[in-house]
Symmetry: C2
Subunit: 390 residues, 2 copies
């Protein structure tokens, strides 16, 4: 097992009707900025519920809506201006990964004197922590299970064709309310995206090379097996509480640091996928579904032992040669994604050889030239992976 | 899945040589009380290493040794007197579960004006939080993997023949340093105890009744499978780093709230075991090894579905009738404990029918009259369970 530090201070409040705990989580007499996305939380009544709870104590509440999927720097800076002008002291994200991620950026940018007037530089630290001394405290009410942002310190923010990570231990949410029922009204495709996103978060920390992280491996396998069991059910029957609850909790557990502590991590699927989203506006999860099978086919040797373990433990594939088992596991993964209505080829998204070249150029532009758990995915290797996904 | 709140703010520092992070974890200019047990940390040099690290910043350091297994109220109150007199502001537990548990009590009692002069009342709140406003901050350097105390808010303190839980969210360690190498010098029996303790912590949160906690179930199963794989290895080959690292991390994960969040919990094995330890001075883990198989044999119907799941998923028992599978799983569990050198009968500890009556009397005295996930283990049922363990 590798050495590691693990610290996750977010308070999780999980289950039916847990919105009633919201009032007790935010200081009285605070000035709260509620952030949300395109307005579904208005239509489905979640925003009203939030405001009703916040009104139970003396506090001022203002709102900022319109944070888009793959939240844009420019949009978020509008919220920053409001938070500064109104002297907001608590942020409450009501939404999915994009709203939570965007709110983490707002939490930093609003009070980061270090970056005043050049907030775009906050996007320049990759997976390292943004060097700031403080951030506004934030909480979340989660309406879409997928990104794990509700229990981690990471965000992804877009600026033009750049989709950049933003990390800070100051942006762990103070609390996150996870009521599976709040996600019932999601469009099916977004639930399917959530299943795939959670699945690929998990494999990025699992299908690498053996490192004697037995707890971590088995916990990752448990998430994958659960997703396989409940994925199609929760897409097809959105009000099946237990299926949805298992998706919601797995989404959180897949990216809160737990399964990745003490083991190698990859993340090349994500880095390549980010460029596809930024250039071609394909949903994040759908880029992952395209890159994952191609990555494994291309990286079969580097990942052989873990791909075999995946085949045997997650898919219960006992028959055949090593390569047959690996092939079967990749095929089963693709079938699983297809069963959710998610495509797995670049051509499904009208991306061709010329598109691949644009993706490669952007990887180079963003310094993504030594990806993977071995640091050996150069742009040339990434090109070959993408060609396998055509 | 059941509703739950989950919050665990302890910072984990895991791996070889991680003692070097100690200095950065405790405020400079603080006055630290190091607590430890019977002196093994002096002999094996761990205490010296701790003091060397603490000396890297200006801070005052004093020591309190002699915290015994099943730490006694009277012993701990001596440390409380010292902490008060010396105006200590940080506690550092260097040891195993007893030292960490004892230090949590010291953290509360030293500054609990609510209980001044009647600190024994701190032991009177069972599994509910002790009603105090503050506690001294504490950290731990773990030298024995077993209790999970390094990443939870619980402790068990003994007073006469009473062995009582003490819980407070104020006693989560600020940090815990888990270097598997610091545990290499443990006597084999203590390592075996640690394996069994971790195993039974896990089953108390897993072998109950189905509740659609799929992540929780699989994570619990992962801990159990890991213990089965590495248990004997780490007892027999104490310096096998990876085996020991997996034990250490599983011990922490088994009792940090994670696998029990959202699912039913039992804890009757522990409550009955505590009485055996208090009366007959049998090691905690060894009482669990005695009660567990008898509990499952007696509670076969109440736990049928989860015992079957345990048989199939943890022991890969595929053949036979339901009852044959359950019998086989219980037998395999006993064999596993035996392989570690741990006995599984009351008679192995010279406890007879008269002894059982004393245990039952103490359960009644401590109000432990409605145990288990169903609240239906009365003293009469507990008697029958213990008779099965004779």
């Amino acid at each position: 097992m590798q050495n590691f530090n693990f610290h996750n201070p977010t308070s999780i409040i999980f289950g039916k009707g847990q919105m009633k705990q919201l009032d007790s989580q935010i200081p009285q007499n605070s000035k709260v900025l509620i952030t949300y996305g395109g307005g579904s939380v208005i239509k489905n009544g979640v925003l009203d519920k939030v405001k009703t709870e916040l009104a139970k104590s003396p506090r001022e509440v203002i709102e900022f809506g319109g944070i888009e999927p793959n939240p844009k720097f420019e949009t978020l800076m509008k919220a920053v201006e409001i938070a500064r002008a109104e002297e907001v002291d608590f942020l409450l994200a009501v939404g999915g990964g994009s709203v939570m991620d965007g709110t983490k950026f707002i939490a930093i940018a609003t009070v980061a004197d270090e970056f005043k007037g050049e907030e775009e530089k906050i996007l320049g630290f990759g997976f390292g922590p943004v060097p700031v001394k403080r951030a506004l405290p934030l909480g979340t009410v989660v309406t879409m299970p997928a990104t794990g942002s509700e229990m981690n310190m990471g965000a992804v923010v877009s600026r033009g064709e750049d989709k950049m990570p933003v990390m800070s231990p100051l942006t762990f949410p103070k609390f996150s309310i996870l009521d599976p029922e709040l996600t019932y009204t999601l469009p099916k495709i977004q639930v399917a995206n959530g299943v795939v996103d959670t699945f690929v978060h998990t494999v990025e920390q699992y299908i690498t090379y053996p490192a004697e992280g037995r707890f971590q491996d088995r916990t990752a396998e448990g998430i994958l097996q659960t997703l396989i069991e409940i994925g199609k059910t929760t897409v097809d029957n959105p009000t099946d509480y237990d299926a949805r609850a298992n998706l919601v909790w797995c989404a959180t557990m897949a990216l809160n640091g737990l399964i990745g502590a003490g083991v190698p991590q990859d993340w090349s699927i994500h880095m390549i996928g980010h460029e596809i989203t930024a250039l071609f506006h394909v949903d994040h999860a759908q880029t992952l579904a395209v890159v994952t099978p191609a990555m494994w086919r291309m990286r079969r040797e580097q990942k052989r032992e873990k791909l075999l373990q995946y085949a045997e433990r997650v898919w219960n594939i006992a028959e055949g040669s090593e390569d047959e088992k690996i092939d079967a596991a990749i095929a089963r993964t693709e079938e699983f994604f297809h069963s959710l209505g998610i495509k797995t080829r670049l051509s499904d998204h009208s991306i061709n050889e010329a598109g691949i070249e644009r993706i490669i150029q952007n990887l180079e532009k963003h310094g993504m030239v030594k990806l993977s758990e071995h640091g050996d995915i150069t742009p040339d290797v990434a090109r070959k992976i993408l060609q396998k996904a055509l």
